[in-house]
Symmetry: C2
Subunit: 237 residues, 2 copies
């Protein structure tokens, strides 16, 4: 690694609020995380992205346990799905300007959607690299907690930003209960009526929730939200 | 907790090859993991199962990195999906006779499939509890590594036990590439011909693999296996 690249990676860590665990610590693993497959080098981010995916999920679970102990298991699943989502990772990558550090090949320049994926993959790989460098989850928490705190508070304040349907599916699959089934019907003919559609969501025979909305899509989201709110609390309280 | 329950939990840990991190360590969290929701108590396994799910995934990722560094990312995804599957967890629960320790209510006695789910949930919750008790992944590795070593070796020796289709789906979703599409056709009319069906699997426009088999199902599995074998190796080697 050149001294220039080393300095660049050091500055990146510093911007994340991190000091390497030892002064002579090799930053090769961080370089690997920030090298996209398209660069055609002998190493790339894929191995660390695979690890980072699992590290991220555990860090998000611990974050929720520390900061949101009052949530039900259903609500925790819903929030965790947001905290580890590709959309969130891509936004994180934008905030820390990860693209400036990426080694990528010319073919990967791509469109907007492609660049969001690049950022998400790179963040996940960096999360894997931090875990390997430090040997524990602390640097991941130090980096991500301020972002998660801000974003989780916003999601709570503006629940319409949630994708309740995918959150409910995440919960039902994690709990081995198959896929939720939605059935909607039009209950009003008035075009702009915000209650025009009524929706029921079921798992097997059990009715989980009901919702209303100005479109089928919104009624389904509302039913999924109602279902998640009803799920029993985490500690049986 | 009664002294009897405490002794029971201590013996369980000893059978897993684990000594509690300190002599006066509270085993309440392990008791919580082994208390099913149906027992109707003030605490239950759900919170720890949620945590254990993420701990398990990270432990399996580390196991693969340590013991199978030569695998491609596709093969690692495939093997990880097996190592954390409900089927595997239920089998693990049977091996360590976890049901004998479970507090369950009368409604949860259930059928065979229900009992397998109970065992899988309990194992996942115990994994979460061990992580909390020790504060790291070491006890999880100590418990699971011998089982994983044995089972991963068997899967390698008898690849037909793999569910290649779900492994390929796991990989394609983790890599943000959507769902694989299979198309099969009958290429022979001979009933018992093991090559009777030919199958192609694609992701978007890309042909990932081709397979043959005596039924559509087997030809699809063969195509998924071929696709996974072709995916590029983890370290670009």
């Amino acid at each position: 690694m050149t001294q220039e690249r080393r300095d660049q990676l050091q500055s990146f860590l510093a911007a994340l609020g991190l000091t390497p665990p030892s002064a002579d610590c090799s930053l090769a693993v961080l370089d690997e995380a920030l090298t996209h497959t398209s660069a055609g080098l002998a190493f790339n981010h894929e191995r660390l992205e695979f690890l980072g995916d699992a590290v991220l999920r555990l860090a998000a679970s611990e974050f929720l346990e520390r900061h949101y102990p009052q949530l039900s298991v259903g609500q925790s699943s819903a929030l965790r799905a947001q905290l580890v989502s590709d959309r969130w990772l891509a936004e994180l990558g934008e905030r820390c300007q990860i693209e400036a550090l990426l080694r990528i090949g010319p073919t990967a320049a791509g469109d907007q959607a492609g660049r969001a994926t690049l950022r998400a993959e790179a963040c996940e790989a960096v999360i894997g690299a931090l875990y390997q460098l430090w040997g524990n989850l602390e640097p991941v928490h130090r980096w991500l907690t301020p972002h998660w705190q801000r974003d989780a508070a916003q999601w709570e304040a503006d629940p319409n930003r949630h994708n309740w349907k995918s959150a409910l599916q995440e919960w039902s699959q994690a709990n081995r209960q198959g896929l939720p089934q939605y059935s909607s019907r039009e209950v009003s003919q008035i075009h702009a009526d915000p209650q025009r559609f009524h929706c029921e969501v079921r798992l097997g025979d059990a009715l989980l929730g009901e919702g209303r909305g100005g479109s089928r899509r919104l009624a389904e989201q509302d039913a999924a939200r109602a279902a998640l709110e009803q799920l029993k609390p985490a500690r049986g309280s």
